[in-house]
Symmetry: C2
DNA sequence: TTGACATCGTTCCATATGGAACAATATTAT
DNA sequence: ATAATATTGTTCCATATGGAACGATGTCAA
C-alpha cells in the first residue's frame, strides 16, 4: 500500500494532492530547521513577518497568520533570547512592543529560505518552463482568492 | 500587512502558494473534525488507510504515511476504544495486529471526506473546467514524482 | 472625570506529538 | 539448537501547541 494508491480514489483530488505535496515539501525542511538551526515553527512565522516588514507588533503577526496570541508571544520571547529579534516598547501604546529582526535573525531566516528554494527547484525539476508558469498562475489565482473561499 | 503581500516577495513562489493554500484548506477542516467528530489527525490517518484497504498492520500505516509508530499506536488504540476500528491478532505473526475499519469508523471517515470535498469545490469555484483539469494534471505529476524529489 | 468595555501580551493548564527505551516475538547465522 | 539480531507495538518522557483566564493599558460614553 502506498499513499499514491489512495490518491487515485480520493473524492477531493486537487486538495489531496496539494496537501500531499505540502507534507513532503515543508515537513522535512521544518524538521531540519529545528534540528540544525534550533528554530521552531512559530519562530519561523515571526522571522518571516519581521523580515518582510519593519516595526511590526505581535498582534499584527497573529492577525496575518491566524496564529493564537500565546504562540506568537512565546516565539517572540524565545527569538529575543536567542538574539534574533529586538523588541522595544511602543511609544504611543505601552501595551504594544515594536518588533524588528536582527542581523542574526535575518541570517537564520535566509538559510531557511535557501532550504525551501532548493527543495522547490528539485520538486519542479520534472516540469517544463511552460508548465511551471501555468502552475504558478493557477496557484496564485487560488491563493489570492482565499478570502472568498475559506470556511 | 497581509500574507498575500509576502507572497509576492517569496523566493519559492510555487511552494509558498501550495503551503499557503494547504493551511487554509486543511487546517479549518481538521479543527472542525476534532471539535465536531472527536477525531484527531493521526486518527484520520488510520481511518483513511483502513478505509482504503482491509487487513492492514499498524506498521504499514507508519511506512506509508511516515508517521512515528507511537503516534499510530495511540491512534489505533483510541479508535478501537471509540468503536471505529477493530483489531485482531495476526495469525502468522503474533506481534502484529490486523486492523479493520468498522461501520461507525467508515461513517466518520465519510463525513470528513465530505467536508474536504465541499471545501475543495469552494476553493476551485473561480476556475474554469479547463483550468481545473490543468491544475490537476500538474499537481498529479509532481505528486507522483515525490519519490524522486523528496529530500 | 470616571466607570464600562476593548485590546495587547502573558501565564496557566490540558492535550498533542515525537524521540528513545522497552518487552515480546520473529528471523538469521553459526 | 541456540545465540545474536531485527521487527512490532507500547510506554515513558520532554516539548510543542492552543484555549481560557489574567493583569495592564487604552478607548469610549455618560
Amino acid at each position: 500500500m502506498k499513499l499514491l494508491d489512495i490518491i487515485d480514489a480520493t473524492p477531493f483530488p486537487i486538495g489531496y494532492r496539494i496537501a500531499f505535496i505540502t507534507n513532503f515539501l515543508r515537513e522535512p525542511i521544518l524538521r531540519r530547521m529545528e534540528r540544525e538551526l534550533g528554530i521552531i515553527r512559530p519562530e519561523l512565522t515571526v522571522l518571516m513577518c519581521t523580515c518582510f516588514r519593519e516595526d511590526v507588533h505581535a498582534r499584527d503577526i497573529c492577525e496575518v497568520t491566524e496564529q493564537p496570541s500565546n504562540t506568537i508571544s512565546r516565539a517572540v520571547s524565545s527569538l529575543e533570547k536567542k538574539g534574533h529579534l529586538s523588541r522595544k516598547e511602543d511609544q504611543f501604546d505601552t501595551r504594544k512592543q515594536v518588533l524588528n529582526i536582527t542581523p542574526s535573525g535575518k541570517e537564520v531566516h535566509d538559510k531557511v529560505m535557501v532550504m525551501f528554494t532548493e527543495s522547490e527547484d528539485a520538486m519542479l525539476a520534472g516540469l517544463s518552463e511552460m508548465e511551471k508558469a501555468q502552475l504558478l498562475a493557477l496557484l496564485d489565482k487560488i491563493a489570492r482568492n482565499v478570502p472568498r473561499w475559506r470556511p
